[in-house]
């Protein structure tokens, strides 16, 4: 009986939350191409990151830099017109072998900002 009262105490607030309109939360990467930390045999011509929620096109950026900090990607990146969870950028066709870092910064639909970076290597 006491356990049931404890459970009701725990479940009650959950019921109150049900009618609440949920918005998008912080956006984090779901997966990317090239993969995070991967070694790729041939130079990619695009870098793509799929997020776990919709992101705002105006404030979201994706930049690829060399290990010394020189930008190699074109522009600030863009959110796909057909998929609002996909952030992508274009790379030169002849990216030399070496280590590169992908810097991303996104604003989720609810206004929460997240950012990060990850490496990949062209062999």
């Amino acid at each position: 009986m006491a356990m049931w009262r404890i459970l009701k105490f725990a479940i009650g607030p959950l019921v109150l939350l049900l009618p609440m309109r949920c918005a998008e939360a912080h956006a984090f990467p779901d997966h990317s191409l090239p993969k995070v930390g991967s070694d790729v045999a041939s130079a990619p011509t695009t870098v793509r990151i799929w997020f776990d929620g919709d992101i705002e096109p105006v404030f979201s950026t994706l930049i690829v830099k060399t290990a010394t900090g020189s930008q190699v990607s074109v522009g600030q990146g863009r959110v796909s017109a057909s998929n609002s969870t996909l952030l992508e950028t274009t790379l030169p066709k002849t990216l030399p072998p070496g280590k590169y870092y992908v810097y991303w910064s996104v604003i989720a639909r609810d206004g929460h900002h997240t950012n990060g970076r990850f490496p990949f290597r062209v062999e």
Binding site: A2, C22, H26
Partner: protein
């Protein structure tokens, strides 16, 4: 120790429960690092959240069931208030009548002292008042306890390349001192820490090793909530080692941990912790989850 014994087993049990029942929870973000809300002590974030932690353990000759509820609300981006309490059900193994009811209510003010995104470090100070006589008779104590606290977190994302697979690790801790208003009751130094390994951090920022959901949202963790009583109890230390896992979602997290007594003075039985934490700033970012004053 003499004075602690004089309090009797129920109060000793309550003190032990207090050691594992935090006053507040909050998740915290510093740069790329998400610190999940630890279940047995405060984490270093000031946020808009609600949490439930259920604990079951045999201790002090009684089976203890404790449900801790906490509600945290930001007034500004850096300052928030917290209210929490426990509902307790204590079943003595001797066959005597069980004790149940509300523990005293704790209210607190918390301030986000610093957040350094590049170093993945974060710190918070908090002052809590566990209000005497605000709980049920026989459960809540007749005296208040004032508890200043410092909580911090540090991610290992800055480790050199050869140690990169350890970058998902993070360390959090909380230091506080409980000052009871009853001079016969010992002060307590609460020193707790956790070591955690974030699978989301590994997948998103270090190396995609192909871990899929639901495991890619998990943070294996060991929490160590410890308590040393001072003044009249010969510096006795009790606490637990809590290995477990926390799952981080968009709107909430849940976790399960074992409670292993850190020494024989704490107890001999292994208990369990179950926790859920709701991120109001993600559930309702423009109303309940937003600071009252910008």
């Amino acid at each position: 120790m003499i004075r602690v014994r004089a309090l009797g087993a129920p109060v000793i049990a309550l003190l032990l429960v207090a050691a594992v029942a935090p006053a507040a929870h909050a998740h915290a973000i510093a740069g790329m690092r998400v610190f999940p809300a630890t279940m047995s002590f405060d984490d270093p974030g000031v946020a808009d959240e609600g949490s439930w932690v259920f604990s079951n353990i045999d201790n002090g000759g009684a089976n203890q069931n404790v449900l801790n509820g906490a509600f945290a609300k930001r007034l500004t981006h850096s300052f928030g208030i917290v209210a929490s309490s426990d509902y307790q059900y204590l079943m003595p193994q001797s066959g005597t009548q069980p004790a149940e009811g509300w523990d005293n209510v704790t209210v607190a003010g918390a301030y986000q002292l610093f957040v350094h995104p590049d170093s993945e470090s974060i710190g918070m100070v908090q002052f809590a008042d566990t209000i005497g006589n605000s709980g049920n008779h026989g459960i809540g104590t007749p005296y208040s306890t004032y508890t200043p606290e410092f909580a911090f977190g540090k991610g290992f994302g800055g480790l050199p390349h050869r140690w990169r697979m350890l970058r998902p690790m993070a360390f959090t801790g909380a230091l506080s001192v409980g000052f009871p208003t009853d001079p016969t009751v010992p002060r307590t130094l609460n020193w707790s820490f956790s070591l955690q390994y974030s699978i989301p951090y590994l997948q998103d920022f270090v190396r995609d090793v192909g871990i899929k959901g639901p495991f890619k949202n998990m943070v294996p963790i060991v929490e160590v909530p410890m308590q040393t009583c001072d003044r009249g109890c010969a510096d006795h230390t009790t606490g637990y080692i809590n290995p477990g896992v926390i799952w981080i979602g968009h709107y909430l997290q849940w976790g399960v941990e074992a409670q292993i007594p850190a020494n024989s003075r704490t107890g001999n039985s292994v208990g369990i912790l179950l926790g859920m934490d709701f991120y109001f700033d993600d559930i309702a970012p423009h109303s309940l989850g937003a600071p009252l004053f910008n």
